[in-house]
Amino acid sequence: MAAVGLYNYWIVVFLMMAGFYIVIAHDNLVKKIVGLNVFQASVFVMYITFGKIQGGTAPIIAEGITTYSNPLPHVLILTAIVVGVATTALGLALVVRINEAYGTIEEDEIHVQDEES
């Protein structure tokens, strides 16, 4: 049942590829940011998954418990989420400015305007 046991990793790979595809295939700048978010989220899931130990519990010392999950990946991912939020905020802010400057957020239309000027 190895394939089922790796369920989370299948999700990770699917999300990663889906997000990556959106970033490459879409012309809309906001959709690209969303794709980037999905892409990053897949990595968060990956880290959380390998922090889990089967039969392990929350890392708080208590009597009668010998196996704990590793808390470090969770902490790392908290940091990575913050970085992701900052990236998204900055990306969207840039899209707002681009919309003010060009009047569109479609990449092909922006290219046309740049060619003309």
Binding site: F20, V23, L29, K32, L36, F39, Q40, V43, M46, Y47, F50, N70, L72, P73, L76, T79, A80, V83, A86, T87, L90, G91, L94, V95, R97, I98, A101, Y102, I110, D114
Partner: protein, 491 residues
Amino acid sequence: MTEHLAALQVVIPLICAPLCMLVRYRDWSWIVALFGSWSCLVISWLLLQQVMTGGIISYHMGDWAPPLGIEYRVDTVNAFVLLIVSAIGAVVTPYARESVRAEFGVNRVYLFYTSYMLCFCGLLGVTITGDAFNLFVFLEISSLSSYVLIAMGKDRRALTAAYQYLVLGTIGATFIVIGIGLLFAETGTLNMADLAERLADKPLSRTIGAAFGFLVVGISLKLALFPLHLWLPNAYTYAPSVVSAFLAATATKVAVYVLLRFLFTIFDVKLSFGVMPLDSILLVLAVIAMFAASAVAIFQPNLKRMLAYSSVAQIGYMILGISFANVNGVAAGILHLFNHALMKGGMFLALGCFFYRIASVNLDDMAGIGRRMPWTMAAFVVGGLGLIGVPLTVGFISKWYLVLGAFERGWWFAAALVLLCSLLAVVYIWRVVEVAYLKPAPENAPDIEDAPPSMLIPTWILIGASIYYGINTDLTVGAAKLAAQQLLGAG
């Protein structure tokens, strides 16, 4: 005090950034930034001295012992890179005062210094840290602030350039996190020295192989290795002059350092270049970068874009040196990292001087500029000679060691290609010289003075250093060779 130097190196600019924001008034925030960058230069100089005499410095953040706590680890390699980054910062900040005032709205000046200090802090942090995840966090600090800096350009294309860089930079950073995560899953540690130790005992598993692949691709995106360089030309072209100079001289160099650190310190040379065929891959990509980017540079009407493509080519030289995987080759890569920072930083600063006076960096507007702004143009030409690799400039020194490394490896054709590619640099520099000196200035050209001293002096400090270190190579070659020996495990 001295035992905390390693922490201060990062903490000082980190504190200066919000200070610049709080004081708001443009000259005060400039003074804060000046204080930050100059004190960082002093610290990095002291660190280099300490490392040269006393060996590796290991600083435990918050007194938590590694590998659990975050460790700052300074050896010859990153002490040298720290010195480069902070020296460039210390030279660019005085220059920024006039240039930023001219190119930014008066009310936005303090925002520039805030993000500039953050970017500076991030680059120093990436270099000094001995913890793989900490490296990612600092990398994102420097990247996010550099997207902001690029978007501050006046042209609206600066916005799309910053956006494109944001998307590609984030993909690169995420690849790096995946790689670090896979290494963590395999070894259970994030400390670089500890990672190296534990990886050495393990046979090559698929996890380690995947981590290696993700890391190499992610870092290559950050350092703009051909064909992952697509974000670079637009970003450098439309960014404000100061930002182009600062980023061209530091950001890609720090990424090259990260590549060195992962290939040689964390993974073993045997894995990077023996088991994985990375040496031939890097060799091919580096050679294509050298030729393709130099050839494209020849046809650029915009000089900033020309220098940006030339940067892609010069990064090719550094990677070529690394691909030789011997002491001379890696030393040449590290040397060129330093030398190219001086030359390209100086040349971008010279372009900033032109922009300050004639509000353009297009070749068409440069007719006769050699007589109208003689000092600035002279700086540009001397920097250009360095790019070509004329003797007595730093460019010659790096190419000399590159050729030595190529012969040592037995790749004589690579040595020939290095020399051949220098001819392309002659072409694109000569174009500018021809227009600037041999064409008459247009009849209706307004009388202009040369750039103000506060901009000209920093430009000439970098250009002068590129001559000085071309003649007196004790410091640079000595440090680069020592660093290469440490990386390759021979010293």
